[in-house]
Structure formats: structure tokens, C-alpha cells
């Protein structure tokens, strides 16, 4: 595989305060030693990854997923004609459905992906988490998917304040009374649609795992992390790798039982009593993936190799005590670059 130059398209170049995973995914791929040509796929013309020196070789603007499958496929066909893509790594929850749905069509065009099936994608949705928990014997906090704000005043027991109110795709807010709940219900439903999910807050430490499943039930890679610094959007601004055997056991169990294919992130709460509650499964590589690379597991590289049909041996070991700390950095760009993105949709 090293002999062939791979053209890899990556989305999620929004390296902002709630960062997409695109930039660290590309950093991981570039660190791997694979011979690559990186194509950035951006949805907004000010996504920082477009302008970061030495990151992408070329960027194309994409239509938002809400524009529909026709616009999506048309744009990808155009980009493929120009770039001859080998692999696409989508990094947004909101675009995954389209990429999964059309993965066979993409493969026929010669574009490889390594994604979960529609069934895998759907069953771990926030609103399906209670059923997921029963099916796979996982502990989750009490939750309910709401289609109407009236339901907030009549939540089933034992749901009680404080609880989290969560958007369908992104964002979660902890609320302590009805007025707060109603405010965020309206805000999240307007932004992400329905349902809005209410999930019991669990007191404990937030621990996360990034993992890669091969689709046959094997965990190819898994790294556990404890958030050390959390932004007001709930995002990790700093974190440290940990060796939590129980957490990794749960990860292996989920991947084995679901036969998960692709990258994933498990978000869990560990209580003071040592109980683990699964609060969310993100069906893609998370934005802190470069910590896993730094700790010894190059998940973006492994995902590329799996996408190209290579056999990848599972890696279990990694360094604990590796830390990441995000920072902001002002890039100086030129209006000419911005103009190209605005006028031509590519740079």
C-alpha cells in the first residue's frame, strides 16, 4: 500500500471551539508515512483547515447534507473526476447517513469508505440508547426522546433534575428546572430537529474511548481518555490517556456484539462507586483522535488501511499519561484564497 499514492478526502475541517475531527485525522494520516494527497471537503468557507499551511493539498466546498442526496452525489462526482479519490473519511454525524447510504455507489466509482452499516448507525442513536442498552447489556442513564415540549412537564420516573437536554446530533445542556429545560428544548429542536433527548445526569467522572472496529467483531484499536479541561460546550480542551481495564472491556464488548465497522467514540460516566454509564456513542472518529496517535495507536492510518481492504492486526497497547492540550492560533490568510473558495468553491 505504501507504494501507491493514496488520495484521501476528509471532512470536518472546522477546527474551532467545538472542533471537527478532520484536522487531527489528517495529521494522523500524514504522520503514518503513507504517501498521500489530501483533499479537504468543507461545508463553510471559513473552516480553518482550508487555510492551515501544509495540511490539505486541495479543498472543495460541499453542499450541506440538508441539500439532499442529488446535490451531494453530483458534487462528489465532480470532485472525484478532478482528484480520483481513493478514500473518503467523513467526520460529521450529520453527513454520515448520506455517506453510508451511498457507500456502495461510491465504491463502484472507486472511492473506499470504512463506515458502520445503516443498522449500526441507527441503533446507537441517542433516542435509541435505552433499547441499545437492553439489547447489548450495557448500563445507560434513564432517558426519553421527546417530540413535544409539553412532555417536559410529565417526564416518566425516575427522570428528575438535574438532567441533560440533548440535540439530535450535537449539543447538550444540563438543566435544573422546567424553565431552563423549555428554553434549551426550543433552542435544540430549532437547530437540530426532533427528537430532543432528555437524559438523567449521572454524578461522576467523564471518560471516553476512541475505538476502531473491523466489522467482524474485532477491536482493532482502542484508547481511553479522561477529560481534564471541559469547555462550556462540553468539549475536551485537555485530556489524558488512562488505562482503565473495565472501560476497555466494555468497549471490546460493544464492538464484538455490534460488529461495529469503523471509528467510534464511547462517552461514559464512571461513578464514585465504580459503575460505568454509557451516555453516548458517536459513530465516527472524535476530534481528540490525535491523542490516540500520540499514545501509540494511529487510528486514521489503520482506518485507511482497512478501507483499502488491507488486513490490520489489532493493537492493544498504548501509553497512559499522554496528554493533549488544545490551543487557539491566529492564522494570517489572504483575501485571494478566500475569494477562490467563495467564487469557485475550491482552493
Amino acid at each position: 500500500m505504501e507504494k501507491k499514492k493514496l488520495t484521501i478526502a476528509v471532512t470536518g475541517l472546522n477546527n474551532i471551539d467545538s472542533p471537527g475531527p478532520g484536522v487531527p485525522v489528517i495529521r494522523g494520516i500524514k504522520k503514518s508515512g503513507l504517501d498521500v494527497h489530501i483533499v479537504g471537503l468543507a461545508y463553510e468557507n471559513l473552516e480553518p483547515g482550508i487555510y492551515m499551511p501544509g495540511l490539505v493539498d486541495k479543498t472543495y466546498l460541499m453542499p450541506f447534507p440538508s441539500a439532499g442526496s442529488e446535490a451531494f452525489l453530483e458534487r462528489l462526482e465532480y470532485i472525484h473526476e478532478k482528484e480520483q479519490l481513493d478514500i473518503i473519511i467523513p467526520n460529521f454525524d450529520s453527513e454520515l447517513y448520506l455517506f453510508i447510504k451511498y457507500s456502495d455507489k461510491l465504491l463502484k466509482m472507486g472511492i473506499h469508505t470504512f463506515l458502520p452499516s445503516i443498522e449500526q448507525f441507527e441503533e446507537r442513536h441517542k433516542d435509541n440508547l435505552p433499547e441499545f442498552a437492553i439489547k447489548y447489556n450495557i448500563t445507560v442513564p434513564e432517558s426519553k426522546a421527546l417530540m413535544n415540549s409539553n412532555e417536559l412537564s410529565n417526564l416518566p420516573k425516575p427522570l428528575s433534575y438535574p438532567y441533560y437536554i440533548k440535540g439530535k446530533f450535537y449539543e447538550a445542556f444540563k438543566v435544573s428546572n422546567y424553565n431552563q429545560a423549555l428554553y434549551y428544548f426550543n433552542k435544540l429542536s430549532a437547530k437540530w430537529g426532533f427528537p430532543v433527548i432528555v437524559q438523567q445526569a449521572i454524578h461522576g467522572t467523564e471518560v471516553n474511548v476512541i475505538a476502531l472496529g473491523d466489522g467482524d467483531g474485532n477491536t482493532v484499536a482502542a484508547v481511553a481518555m479522561r477529560k481534564q479541561y471541559i469547555t462550556d460546550k462540553g468539549k475536551a480542551w485537555g485530556g489524558i490517556t488512562i488505562k482503565d481495564e473495565r472501560l476497555l472491556e466494555i468497549t471490546h464488548h460493544i464492538i464484538k456484539e455490534t460488529k461495529w465497522r469503523g471509528g467510534m467514540e464511547l462517552e461514559m460516566i464512571k461513578t464514585d462507586d465504580g459503575e460505568y454509564y454509557l451516555i453516548e456513542i458517536n459513530p465516527r472518529i472524535p476530534a481528540w483522535v490525535y491523542l490516540a496517535v500520540g499514545a501509540g495507536q494511529n487510528i486514521p492510518e489503520m482506518l485507511c488501511r482497512l478501507a483499502m481492504g488491507e488486513k490490520v492486526n489489532p493493537v492493544a497497547d498504548y501509553d497512559s499519561g499522554k496528554m493533549f492540550i488544545r490551543y487557539s492560533w491566529d492564522l494570517i490568510g489572504d483575501i485571494a484564497d478566500f475569494e477562490k473558495i467563495i467564487i469557485f468553491g475550491e482552493l
Binding site: M225, R226, I242, K243, D244, G321
Partner: protein, 79 residues
């Protein structure tokens, strides 16, 4: 591996607990006690060693040891 042996401890007194990602700092006495615990020394042997190295009496050494053991257990750093 015992909880105590899984800790990463530097000479500066910085303790990293890999299972949770927590870190702690300890003083010279704490480092001394941890070292002896890892060598499976008995309570009496540790108290005698503290008396000798830190030039304190038996009561003070015993108090220092048991207060430190409480701390290690409370933070789940020893079985």
C-alpha cells in the same frame, strides 16, 4: 499488578494514577512510605524506618504512617 505498583511515581513526589488519569503530589515522607510499602515491609518495619530516617519518636512515626495509609486507601491507590 497491585494498585500501588501500577502508580507512576517520580522522585519529585509527583504521582500519576494510570487507571483514572488523576495526579497527586507527595512529600519526602510519602515517597519514603510508598517505597517501603512496595517492598512489602510491615507496619512496624516502616515505623522503625521512619523513626530512623526522619528522627521522630514512635508515636509521630505511627501517626504519619497511618495518616498516609488512609490517604492512599481513600484515593484507591492501594488494595
Amino acid at each position: 499488578m497491585s494498585k500501588l505498583n501500577s502508580l507512576a511515581i517520580s522522585d519529585s513526589g509527583f504521582i500519576f494514577k494510570p487507571s483514572t488519569g488523576e495526579s497527586f503530589t507527595t512529600n519526602e515522607m510519602g515517597l519514603f512510605i510508598i517505597q517501603l510499602l512496595k517492598e512489602n515491609k510491615s507496619g512496624e518495619e516502616i515505623i522503625n524506618a521512619i523513626m530512623e530516617d526522619f528522627e521522630v519518636d514512635n508515636v509521630t512515626a505511627g501517626r504519619d504512617l497511618y495518616e498516609y495509609l488512609d490517604f492512599l486507601k481513600r484515593e484507591q491507590m492501594m488494595d
